[in-house]
Symmetry: C2
Subunit: 232 residues, 2 copies
């Protein structure tokens, strides 16, 4: 016999383990006491005792802070708070196969949004040297067979990667690199060849002699096939 609700919309009881609690308590402790990078943390035994848990559990919690890049430790020297590697943990998780479809779609849109917003910073930071290098990448594409899929993807990555590098924003650059597998995953799934109206070379010329608005319009057209995706 069927239940009234096909899918019961109720949250399962949360099974908070000691490690979960200790993790939160440690984060709160660090925040409350305004710990800064370089500051030494209390010893494991002191923390364990203060928290009323075994050293084992404490270390499981500390291990989580380690993967977040928040604490570093060496033998005898003890533990210190470190400036976390923000994107480091993201990179470990960025596997299209285990991320749910909805989130993948979100990140796809996030990438398009970034690409459209880049123009402003790009025009502030662009240099003749960078533009010349970008042009080289765009020119290199023409000498190869357009049906060589692997090469096309490679040069696509190279071109847009260069644009991100031109912003001088290292975080943004890493973010883009991180998003690549997702982008690749979604694009390879669909069959469309996705021919862009505006080529890379067109974009280079807009960057050289056009205005911000013109460049952005070009980028919008270049990404046209991708934007069509989200019009579902």
């Amino acid at each position: 016999m069927k239940s009234k609700l096909s899918t019961i919309d109720i949250e399962p009881v949360s099974h908070q383990t000691m490690a979960d609690i200790v993790e939160l308590k440690l984060l709160a402790f660090l925040k409350k006491n305004a710990f800064k990078p370089g500051d030494a943390l209390p010893k494991e035994m002191e923390l364990a005792e203060a928290l009323g848990v075994s050293r084992n559990i404490l270390r499981e919690a500390l291990s989580r802070l380690r993967v977040l890049g928040m604490v570093d430790s060496k033998k005898r020297r003890g533990m210190v708070l470190t400036s976390p590697d923000i994107l480091g943990s993201l990179e470990k998780v960025m596997d299209p196969l285990i991320i749910d479809e909805s989130t993948l779609q979100d990140f796809f849109e996030l990438r398009l949004t970034l690409e459209m917003g880049l123009a402003d910073i790009l025009f502030i930071r662009k240099t003749k040297k960078d533009i010349a290098e970008l042009e080289q990448i765009a020119l290199a594409e023409k000498v190869r067979d357009k049906n060589d899929v692997a090469f096309r993807i490679k040069s696509e990555v190279e071109f847009h990667g260069k644009i991100y590098r031109m912003t001088g924003n290292h975080t943004m650059q890493r973010f883009q690199t991180m998003l690549l597998p997702i982008f690749g995953h979604l694009v390879t799934v669909e069959k469309k060849p996705a021919v862009a109206k505006v080529t890379h070379l067109d974009l280079v010329n807009l960057l050289k002699t056009g205005t911000i608005e013109e460049f952005r319009k070009g980028m919008r057209d270049h990404l046209g096939p991708h934007f069509k995706r989200i019009l579902k």
Copy 2:
């Protein structure tokens, strides 16, 4: 006596612990065997034995995957791979006080870039209802004293938050919420009152009757004071 180099540019030797290695091995194992969310992982003892480490160490590594939202486990039932909460780990780390200045600046620019790129998706997804709600927020600002800093920040957050919500992109929305403390940190540090040429109400009107380009131009002017920051 002073050394030749004020700061010695050399990387310290990496101290890879067993937990570090096991963490990487687990990630590789999951990837190689194409584990998908819902799949059951081998038992702790089996993994520990296969890896040649104690259950302790294995659990420290597993604890890291847990904080990344990649594995969940219950007693007797065993462990299962879960679809990771991508931004969850980011949120734990997003503390302006422990993130280095350079990264903070990067995220600040990232936020501006997103804001400038939002226009396209916004015009695709906007609804009369959302615009009306956005207008309410903008109108509510006028009745209050402009010198009430707390209120000004609150309404600023509310307005831009609503814009992100209007994209229907939940990840982007969370991302923005996450970036708020950073934004607040950098803005409160500087003394400038930061008066924008284009008000929130202007933006609402552009969203109602203007074109994408006009809206984006308005947003650019609205963010003018912030863009001046990055012209350093």
